[in-house]
């Protein structure tokens, strides 16, 4: 594959430098081998995992039991999540199990309100963030696209805020770009657009809006060709980042000729 002709543009979270601004999730991949290939193609250096009961492969583990080793092999940093937790109590317990199992104090804090919307429960999220920060965790807070809540989470000590583009798994893209822009403009910690990404242009838009990184899973793992889609996202994130830095032209209501009208020949 052609090398990308860009300067290194690392993302720093909690003092750790990541070479890629694409954070991957691992949910929804039909096989561990296929997942590994997609993760490599994405160029990601940080990837989420869920914490579940240990079950041997013969028992039909939901995600296989070798995922941790797969990530270690590929030098991908692991970001345990608290997916499936409905209360602060469950989320804190899950984070503690993850810290013990995976030897990291990083946690993607996800406290959802119900299984139908999978939307974050703001009250429990705030409570869990406070508790986890007090226990020394580095909290990546998965949150609604609410600028007020995002700022609250930062004030409570989160190391990154991760507003959703749209509900988890919907692929609806970024439903409220204005709010994402507002969150970015007020945040002094990294903003990671998380959830709702459907295709490459959604990820590019997130970066153009000023997000520091994008987190996605389903858009790759359930794509018809996950490796190709992972490559698409790798490029889209870089493209969007460059566009944000490049400074887009203002939108105008009427056309503006790019060729001068002076000096036209008489025809």
């Amino acid at each position: 594959m052609t090398e990308l002709l860009t300067e290194p543009d690392p993302l720093t979270i909690d003092g750790v430098t990541l070479g890629s601004r694409l954070i991957m999730g691992t949910g929804g991949a039909p096989s561990l081998a296929g997942l590994g290939a997609a993760l490599l193609a994405s160029g990601t250096e940080l990837t989420t995992v869920a914490m579940r009961r240990y079950s041997t492969p013969e028992q039909g583990a939901p995600g296989g039991t070798n995922l941790f080793e797969l990530l270690l092999e590929h030098n991908i940093r692991v970001l345990p999540n608290t997916a499936g937790c409905f209360t602060a109590r469950e989320a804190v317990m899950t984070a503690e199990l993850a810290r013990e199992a995976l030897e990291t104090d990083w946690v993607k804090l996800e406290v959802i309100a119900d299984e139908h919307t999978l939307l974050p429960d703001a009250v429990e999220l705030v409570e869990a963030t406070e508790q986890l920060v007090n226990k020394g965790f580095k909290v990546f807070a998965y949150t609604n696209d609410d600028p007020v809540l995002a700022l609250r989470l930062e004030q409570l000590g989160a190391v990154a805020v991760m507003p959703l583009g749209a509900p988890i798994g919907t692929g609806l893209g970024i439903l409220n770009p204005h709010n994402i822009e507002l969150i970015v403009s007020r945040a002094s910690i990294p903003v990671v657009l998380d959830a709702g990404i459907g295709t490459a242009s959604d990820a590019a838009l997130a970066m153009e809006l000023g997000c520091d990184a994008v987190l996605l899973a389903t858009a790759v793992t359930r794509a018809q060709d996950p490796v190709r889609m992972a490559q698409a996202f790798k490029h889209a994130v870089i493209g969007g980042r460059l566009a944000a830095q490049g400074g887009r032209i203002p939108k105008r209501r009427h056309a503006l000729a790019s060729s001068a009208m002076d000096g036209r020949p008489d025809l």
Binding site: Y54, S55, V78, L97, E100
Partner: protein, 79 residues
């Protein structure tokens, strides 16, 4: 027969069984006294007993008691 609850299912155990013994039984990996895997790899496992975390360093000393509720968890695909 004395039983405990292991990952949600009733499970018989012999007196003197430790948390470390359960982890070895479930994962098939031999453990050092520190709770690290003897094969030098990363185990990637955590244990909660009756909703309290049992730190890795305590596994070899923590004896299972009747009706203990033990959860052994690891990283799986998600998020």
């Amino acid at each position: 027969m004395t039983t405990l609850k292991l990952n949600g299912a009733a499970h018989p155990f012999n007196p003197g069984t430790t948390v470390a013994d359960l982890v070895t039984a479930v994962t098939g990996r031999t453990l050092l006294a520190t709770g690290q895997a003897a094969d030098g790899g990363r185990l990637g496992v955590a244990v909660a007993r009756n909703a309290d975390i049992v730190p890795r360093s305590q596994w070899a000393h923590s004896r299972i008691e009747e009706n203990d509720d033990v959860e052994i968890v690891t990283a799986v695909q998600g998020g």
